[in-house]
Symmetry: C2
Subunit: 451 residues, 2 copies
Amino acid sequence: MSLTGTTDMLALNKTHDASAKSWVASANTNDSDFPIQNLPFCVFKHGGETRGGVAIGDQVFDLRAAVQANVFSGDALIAAEAGSQTTLNALMALPPSINSALRAALFDHLKADGSAQAQAAELGGKTLIPTKDVELGLPCKIEGYTDFLTSIHHTERHGKLKGLKDPLPPAFHSLPVAYHGRTSSILPSGTQVVRPNGQWKDADGSVKFGAVSALDFELELGALIGQGNTQGDPVLLSQAYQHLFGFCLLNDWSAKSIQWWEQVLGPFLGKNFHTSLSPWVVTTEALLPFRTAASPRTESAPPLLAHLHSREDREYGALDIELQARILTPRMRDEKAAPSRLTLTNAKTLYWTFGQMLAHHTSNGCNMQPGDLIGSGTISGVEPESMACMTEMTQAGTHAITLDNGEQRNWLGDGDEVIFTGRAQRQGYASIGFGECRGVIIPARPYGANA
Amino acid sequence: MSLTGTTDMLALNKTHDASAKSWVASANTNDSDFPIQNLPFCVFKHGGETRGGVAIGDQVFDLRAAVQANVFSGDALIAAEAGSQTTLNALMALPPSINSALRAALFDHLKADGSAQAQAAELGGKTLIPTKDVELGLPCKIEGYTDFLTSIHHTERHGKLKGLKDPLPPAFHSLPVAYHGRTSSILPSGTQVVRPNGQWKDADGSVKFGAVSALDFELELGALIGQGNTQGDPVLLSQAYQHLFGFCLLNDWSAKSIQWWEQVLGPFLGKNFHTSLSPWVVTTEALLPFRTAASPRTESAPPLLAHLHSREDREYGALDIELQARILTPRMRDEKAAPSRLTLTNAKTLYWTFGQMLAHHTSNGCNMQPGDLIGSGTISGVEPESMACMTEMTQAGTHAITLDNGEQRNWLGDGDEVIFTGRAQRQGYASIGFGECRGVIIPARPYGANA
C-alpha cells in the first residue's frame, strides 16, 4: 500500500518495519503501546520544567535534552526544536515532511543494532526518563474544539430513545454533523472530574437545579490539527490528512439530564464542565498502516457531494483502531479487582472519515489552527458490546447494566473511574497503542461553596 | 443610584459627572461617541507596533506612551502597564478596583481645567494619535466564545417562521439558551466578509453546494470577560458584573440556508465563516449609569431558579443601550448616499441579563478566562423596526424589504456593507457610544480555488 502522490505526502517507510526493535527493551514487549514503530509525542513536566517528548516503551524520550546533545540535524533538528517547547503547537504547525524527518531520525536513534546505538544508549541516561516519573499534560494549547457526530449506530440509538420515527437527522447522510465545544475545560487524562451542578426537567415536569445524577462518558477519538488553513481557503479532502497531525483518546463527559433540557442550539452546559484528553499524540504517519476503507454508506443514502468524496478517501480514509472503555468502581479499587469492560468498539465503523470532517469543517472557509481538536463523536458500533456511552447501554438510565463484580450502574457514580485504551493492529505490522485516557468522578461541590 | 455593596464593587463616581469636559476638544461635541465619561479601551497599531489605547474624541490615547511619560502611579500604573501590551487580556484579568483606578487617573489626566491639564496637554503630542491614523484590531485574544439566544422577540419570530405551535423552546423561560461559537474566525470591524460556500437543501429537496445566497447579519452586544473563574467554581449572579470587563458590538454573520440544513447540534458552518467585533471596549464602569431594570418576565413563566435570581439583577441587571444597524449598498456608495437604516433596537429588551448569562454559563463549573466573549444573541425588540436580522425582516427571504433609495433586498448582496452603532443615553448623564462595527460582503471564492 502506498498513499504517496496527490492524496498524501506520506508513504510507508522504514519506520513502519515490523521487525525493527529498540535498544530500549521495554518497547519490544508484545503488550507495549509504544514500540519503535509508534513514537507518539507528548508534553511532560519533570524537574519543574515542561517540554515535549516521545514515548518509547515505558520511557519518555526528552526532545530538549536530545537537541542539546546534538542528536538531530537538518529537518529533524528543526522539528525537534519545535517539539522541545512547552506545547507541541509549533511542531504541529510544521509541514508533514519536516515532522516525518524527525520520525525517521528518532527511529534511527532508538533502533537496536542501528549505527547510532552505542552512542544513543550512552546518551540514554540524559535523554530517557521513566514515564512513571513525569507528569503528562495536554499535548498542545487547544484554541478550537469541534465535536462531530459521525457514528450512525450511536445516532440511531439516540434517535430511537427519543422515539423519533426517523432516528437519523435528515442531514446525517449528507454531511458530518458537528458543533463547537469549549476549549477552556479540556483537561489531561488523570484529572479528577467534578460532578457538575445543573438544571434539568424532572419527571414531574418541574425544573430542578443541583448535582446531576445522569453522568455519562462518551468514547471518542480526537484528531489534532497540524498545519492550519487561511480563513476563506478550505482544506480539500485530498489534502486533509496532511493537516491532521495525530490522534488521541477523548472522553466527552456528558451530563445528560442537563443536555436533554438545555439543548436548543446544541450541547452546552451538559458538556463544557470537563473534557478529558489522553496525553500521547499518535501521529498520522504512525497510523498509516492502519488506514482502511471507509464504512459503507447506507444504500438509500444520496450520493456524496463532490467535495466530500474521493476514491482515496473511500479506500483509505478510515482508521482501524480498536477502542475500549473500562470502569473501575470504588469497590473494585478496594478489592483490587480488575476494571470491568464497558465497551469494545472500532474507529473504522464511523460513517464519516476524519478527512471528510476536516473538508466539511473548512468548506465554508472556516480557519483551523495548529493544535485545534476535532472529536469523532461517540464511536459506537452495531454490536451491543460496542455501545460507547452509558446512555445507549442503559437506555438513558432506565435499564441498569451489571459489571463484572455484580455491581450495577444506571449512570456513573462518585468514585467511578473510566479508562479508555486504543490499539491499532494489522497483519504484517507492529501493533501500536494510545496509552490511556482516565478520569475519576468526584462528588459535586455545593453550589456557591466558593463564594 | 448606587450599586455599591454586596452586588457590585463599582459605584457612580466623578468619572460619570456629566458636566466634565476634556481638553481634547473633539471629545466635547454632542455627537462624539467618546466623551471623557466613556474612555473605552482598544488595541491599535501605529508606527508598526501594536499596543493598547483609550478613545477620547477623535484621538487614541496611547497607554504605552503615557506609561513611559510617567503619567500614572499606583494602581493606575499597574493597569496602564497591563493595558500597554499587544492584547488587553492582562488588563482584563485585573481586579475591577485596579482598572477603576486607571479610569479615574485617565479622567483626571484628560479633564479640562483639571490640575494636570497643562502638563497633560503638553504631553498630548506624544500620547494622542488621531484615530484615523491607526489600525484598530481585536481588543484581546479571545479563547472562548459563547453566543446566547436571549431575545424573546427574535426567538418567537423564528419559531413562528418554522411553523412551531409553541414558538419558544420549552427551556426558554428557565435558562438563557446558548451554544459555543468559533473563536478563530472572529475578526475586527472593517475586515471584508467573504461570502461562504456551503451545503443546503434546495426547494426541490436536493442537496446543493455552492455560494450561499441567504446571507444575513445579526445585531448583538458582546461582553468580554474580565477576571476568570476556576474550573468547578461558578460565578454567582451577585458577582457577575465584577467578571464582565466591558462590551462591544458584535455581528454574528449567518448563512441561513447552511444553518437550516446542518443544524442538529446547533449552528456550525452557518456561523463560523466570520464574526465581526467592534474595536472599542466600553467598560462595565462606564456603563454604570445605564444599568436599568431587567425586562419583565412573561406572566405565565415559571419562577426563576434561585441562582438566576436576585433583586439587584431585576432592578439593575439590564443595559439601556440603543443599537442601530444600517446598510450601505454599492449603489449608495456610488451615489454617495447615506446608509439606509435596517434596525433600531435596545439591549434593555433582552429577556435575560448578562449577569444571568454568566451565572448560568458557569453554574456547572465551566471556567471563563479573561477576554472570553459572550454574545447576547440577536437583539430584536417587539416593534417591526427593531427586528435585528434580515431573516425576521424578510420572513426568511420570502418578502423583500425596500431600502431608503428604493433598492430591495431579500438577503445581503455582494458589496453590501452592514454598519452597527450603539449609544447609551440617560437624563443627567453624558451620552456615550460604541463606535462602529462594519463589514462589507465580497463575492464567494470558487471552491478549491486555493488548491
